[in-house]
Point group: D2
Chain length 472, copies 4
């Protein structure tokens, strides 16, 4: 666990065409993307021109059983894992969305946030459209159906040209599986092969997991069309400056993925090395907040020469529901996931390496636990800058007012967390570690430089008549 665990995760998509076990491989691919969304999962498979779906609330292995997979025969499929489907009506919002329209059936799933969904929805409603989900993804289905273009591809281009924000979209209809990525390239999307089959997925780790081969990133603004004739790539959207989400590299993506062209694990080790160089500290042991902080802590230990040790242990038996033992056990929620390793920290000056601080409450509890286990000093080192703004492009961050670094300056943060020292990497340092050309990333949550106008999203809140909030 890490501070970023308190962020809403985003989503993950997986698609495959040309393999007779399409749904089964999608099931595995979604399992490999489970870290991108734990609340719901779904697959739509194509068999003999017909689309069948299975969706459910929960983890991939909870949603699908043998019967479900058997009900999804066929050689092409798309799937989705999702964050945030709490509540009784959660299933309604689980993707992919399957619909019938003029040309037959179409299914679609989406990772990202459409910043101008509210005004488009308004416009569509004006023309008589009805919406049955709270998700902005439904807007895409309507645009697709309402387009005056003829072919699926042209309609999809038409629809996607209308929306702004972050989107990686998979569509299956007729004989085609289409994957498209927004021109800014906020969210990752990669292409792979398994034998004759083509794979598209949010991360390379999913391709590896199904024992396929990573081919290349799908480029920002690219649309890849997969069918019996093989692969076709078009670039129908207006060019934009590349703005890959830097937080994917810092926290979200699996450490064994290749993200935006670079391996994640060495990037995170490098972030830790930079921290050690820029913010050295006298200490006896470097302790990661496992598992996401581990590579950076190893980098910090290597660069600083301070020994690395597992001073916090992560439990493997956490369930969705756990009964709070009233108020008698302090910091219980955090303690359930992470336990201090007394023999490592007792009497020691401890450097704790984590990837981010969001609200700060988890960090505060961790520090308290380490002190209770005997830590003599606690120094906190964070591999990202202070987070000062929400994300409007696919990550469900808290309101600005709840962000610790928005509420206080560094001295007060140190005091609040009760640590001997605390240090954050600067944006420049992160950019350097993550991959050079600083202009390539979206770092709005750290810098306030929002590449796409987020005003639309605020308006959305006012329009939301459904319970819950608009989601990716």
């Amino acid at each position: 666990m890490s501070e970023a665990d308190t962020l809403g995760h985003e989503c993950g998509v997986f698609g495959i065409i040309g393999d007779p076990d399409a749904a089964r491989l999608s099931y595995l691919g979604l399992h490999a993307l489970q870290h991108r969304g734990q609340d719901g999962a779904g697959i739509v498979a194509r068999n003999a021109g017909n689309l069948a779906e299975h969706r459910g609330v929960g983890l991939v292995h909870e949603v699908f059983d043998e019967g479900a997979l058997r009900s999804l025969p066929g050689d092409a499929a798309i799937g989705h894992v999702r964050y945030g489907t709490a509540g009784g009506d959660g299933l309604t919002n689980v993707q992919p969305f399957l619909a019938r329209w003029k040309q037959g059936q179409v299914a679609l799933c989406h990772n990202g946030t459409l910043t101008n969904a509210p005004p488009i929805r308004e416009e569509l409603e004006e023309r008589g459209a009805i919406f049955t989900r709270t998700s902005d993804t439904e807007v895409l289905l309507h645009l697709l159906a309402a387009s005056d273009q003829k072919t699926l591809i042209n309609r999809l281009v038409d629809a996607l040209s209308r929306v702004e924000g972050a989107w990686c979209v998979l569509v299956i209809s007729g004989d085609k599986l289409v994957a498209a990525r927004d021109p800014w390239g906020f969210r990752p999307l990669v292409l792979g092969r398994k034998g004759e089959a083509w794979i598209v997925a949010s991360e390379t780790t999913a391709i590896d997991f199904v024992q396929g081969t990573f081919v290349r990133e799908i480029e920002p603004g690219e649309m890849v069309i997969l069918d019996e004739d093989g692969i076709q790539s078009i670039r129908p959207f207006a060019r934009k400056p590349r703005r890959a989400c830097i937080f994917e590299a810092i926290y979200f993506a699996r450490p064994d993925s290749n993200l935006f062209g670079r391996d994640v694990y060495p990037t995170r080790v490098r972030l830790g090395e930079l921290l050690a160089t820029r913010f050295p500290c006298k200490a006896d042991v470097v302790v990661p907040v496992p598992d996401s902080g581990t590579p950076a802590a190893l980098g910090f230990a290597q660069a600083s020469g301070i020994p690395f040790a597992m001073g916090l242990l992560r439990s493997h038996y956490i369930g969705r529901t756990f009964i709070e033992p009233t108020q008698r056990i302090r910091d219980f929620g955090v303690r359930l996931k992470l336990q201090p390793n007394r023999s490592v920290v007792a009497g020691k000056r401890v450097v704790v390496v984590d990837d981010s601080i969001v609200r700060g409450t988890t960090s505060q509890k961790l520090v308290r636990m380490l002190r209770a286990a005997g830590a003599a000093e606690v120094h906190l080192r964070i591999t990202s800058p202070p987070m000062t703004g929400p994300c409007f492009y696919g990550i469900d961050t808290p309101e600005r007012e709840e962000l610790l670094a928005h509420r206080m300056d560094l001295p007060r943060i140190r005091q609040f967390l009760d640590v001997e020292s605390v240090a954050f990497l600067s944006m420049d340092e992160v950019r350097e570690a993550v991959g050079g050309d600083g202009g390539r990333f979206c770092d709005a949550c750290f810098t306030g430089n929002y590449p796409v106008d987020p005003v639309a999203r605020r308006a959305d809140a006012q329009l939301a008549l459904f319970r819950g909030r608009p989601e990716e």
Copy 2:
């Protein structure tokens, strides 16, 4: 059980406005209508201008628990019980359908079948509409949203003027609950009060069950608008000759309901009396197929002077799943629900009174069971004419080719069922018992006189690209 048990049941609707326990009372009302649909149930309740929903697959008491009812506060609600939501995606089709449109939120549920749904759907798709359910009810939502009228009422009138077939519709939106019944009056719909609150329901038994008072039938072609200002009734649709479903009176409706202005129980007793008069027979005992055949068997016994006895017992512990004991137990499916009472039938000439014969296989098994229990003779008396055609107005009958009376004439039916005699009431006799004026009823399944062109429905089958079939 009766032969009619092999028919798909139709649906039931319940709505209430002006009671602070609207959802709880709807829950009870739907339970009282459970005989009209056992496969799914849902309620949408209005609270402070917001609509919340809870829907699920199963019986009313399985779908709703205390938590679900607590999530539905408010003083107005509509609900639905439904037949036919098998399969993993069943929930999608469970009503009421809740949608967001230009004017906010709207929820709608429906009992019946729209015979021209397919061409309307085609037309709507042409204009860019997407459909996510297989139910024709979704067409109504689209027509509502696409209407160029301004007010909810005008839009609803506009939408309902477009559709043909059988429909009892409940709509909740803004401050109004609207109930409308098609001009033919195929399906029943009644109005009641409970204190200050207004109730609308498929049958009077639901009003009784919540301890309300039956006010009157909602007339064919009538639209009733309920809000804070009380009740308003309009008749915006073109007049049609009344065509109440005669099969509701014969089999579907609860015996304690008042249907189309007459009590059901005495009607069924009268059907039995007519049978005894028209088709007398020498016998020792009159045995009903319980529970639906019981009133008619009592009537037959009374008119014939032959003693009535429970020669078939109905089990109370039938579940949704029951394991077939391979092929070693003959007629097992029927035997699970009905068991012969040997002491009543052994050595006796038995008159069995039932309400209808559909495919004939259940009747055949019942006869076999009675003979195995020692019946000397079996005489079958049916309170309806031979069923020769399917229903296109809300009851899920088998294809014409499967109907016993379509496949054979009376002598062969007798032979097939292996009975000493079999007799059906004529249409005229049924009309007389059920209520006089023969022209008031739809008896198409017995006579072939379809009041609304069923061609559309056949087309529908070809358009259905979704798995499953279009329903109510």
Copy 3:
């Protein structure tokens, strides 16, 4: 439902030997005995000398699925349905009990109550025995294992000779299935065949249901030993006067069973006829409390000439849990199961025929419901005498203090129930209808003549250190 529904039901047993589908047929047999216990069910099957078990809380069709039945191969099996396994530890008490002892494995199930279980348990504990269930059936297992006899049969005779009270016991061990019935013959136990296989069951309806043939009653004090060599009958126990439970005939047994040598259904019709003769009344309609009161009501109608009608309808969709709609719906619990049929009772003088009055609260609510539905007069006729004492031989009746007829005399009962008249059959009349020789029955709950000293049972209450109460 009837007043007797508020009694705890007792249990049912089923065993079969010599059929390769022994467990599957037991499953069906237990389903046919479901009316004798709805709270738990279990089967132990013998395969290649090994005993396997499956037990669970709930109805037979809920406890067993295909997998469970597949796990119980073999040609011999015994099973049990049980009343009263509420609470988290319910499963522990579900029978049959399977144990390992000196001679290998043994499984046992039991219908009845051992009145001297507490002192025997005490004695066994004194010698070092441990008990893991609250059921007195466990005492039998201990006596069996502790016997100094050598053979299974001698041990079983030894064990059963020690216990007093009511017991029908099935035992399976080694190559034998043994059935034994206490010398008083309180509870029913019958023998049947299905092809080469032998069946033992609580009631003949279970033999019918598996399409076997009823052979004869197992006599009071008889022990039947079934194995490859066929059937052997011994009578090892001291003779006692026959004391069959008269309440089985009045209420518990299925109407299609042959009980204690007579068919149940005509017995109950006869009870109704007697009521009509002895306690006539001017009325317009005879209404049964369905389903248990129906045969008697038919007898009453026949004898009195007053027409019979279904003035109370029984719901088929009752589940284990149903949410109470607060206090706004009066008599809700009863109303869930039974609804008044207004067209039958409105403005009429109604005779209601039921089998018994226990606490009286259900009857009171039924009367209230009938009056609310318009009944002009309500006359209650009961096919048993006033119940004044608890049962100590297998039926879980309330304490004496809760019994209506213990608390008040007839005039006050009439007043309490708010009926124009109320009448009970006398014990002599019931004996006459049920089968002549009055001495054959146990009628202690009506007369106070307890054939076996119930003092032991009272002592039991004091010894019960486990939560819950001793059962069957």
Copy 4:
């Protein structure tokens, strides 16, 4: 995961007396011991002299919900987590076992294996005892009840004096909670405090988790009696040489526990250091098999100077059921839990550090996965000697014939695993790292020196007439 994952885990026990939240704290304590058994969990709590139980199949947080904990009030409780309750009857074997005996109620749970359970069971059966579980723990209950001693303590001493093998036993009865550890001290058992309350647990991590304080180990052969008067310690058993299970230190115990007087984490780091010193190798990176191999891999890296990296990633979303994607995904079972981190291992000479090799199949698959991810060389370093014999004292190891090191010598093991080199620590080296005095440990699975005659256990297999195998 590690090779040792293919071992059956053993069990864990937790008890507390003197805290009003005894069951809730036991729930937490058992959660902290979840690594010792994932298949079943139970708690017995004492309230006002009465014992109540809740047990279930699954993880602690699956077995207990708020309702379950509320049903367990009281100030004293014992609990158990268990390995190995597969099958439908699993619940029967879940501990603690609650029974009623002469002195009232008693509950008992046990970690270990009683090697002479079979002959004792035989003897008890001879005297008329019945057994309802397959667990040898039931023997203890019988011995307790059959003892001719008077007090609970004397009876317990009597019973435990009869059994041989490994046992840590918790008993609750009357006003006492008793904890006892066998004279060899095979399994760990520790004492702690939380305020005024006393805690006993298998490992110190459970005391830490409930925020109690570790007091001391319960000594081999010690019996600790806890009641209102505080703590009393007796040593009623014949002295034996200490034989703590060395495999607890190598693999089983949590790294944050203090085991047999030493912290586990630094012990495992030391094992890695020893490996690096004794079996150095030229390599580019040291990779642990997470999580159990991580401390040793860190020690290896530190001692060798070769950088440490997470070359294998552990998935957090593993469920109990996962659908095998037929045969198309190689090594799927292992891959579900562990994924190779390509950027760490590609082109590198990799040292993999693990704690043990049992059957060798998991190691073989891991090596294959690493090579597929591009590892140039794979060197395996194991922190224990070759495992050549089964455990008879509480760990469910495979038969000797399945153990890799029993089947082959080192060169063939290297070949089988397809590694460039493989090395095991010697027994002496492990003893040195784990704690000096070699005589203190049981290392029978590595050396064949079984401190207690395991013959009895083999006999047990023949006696087992129940399905399944005798368990701890």
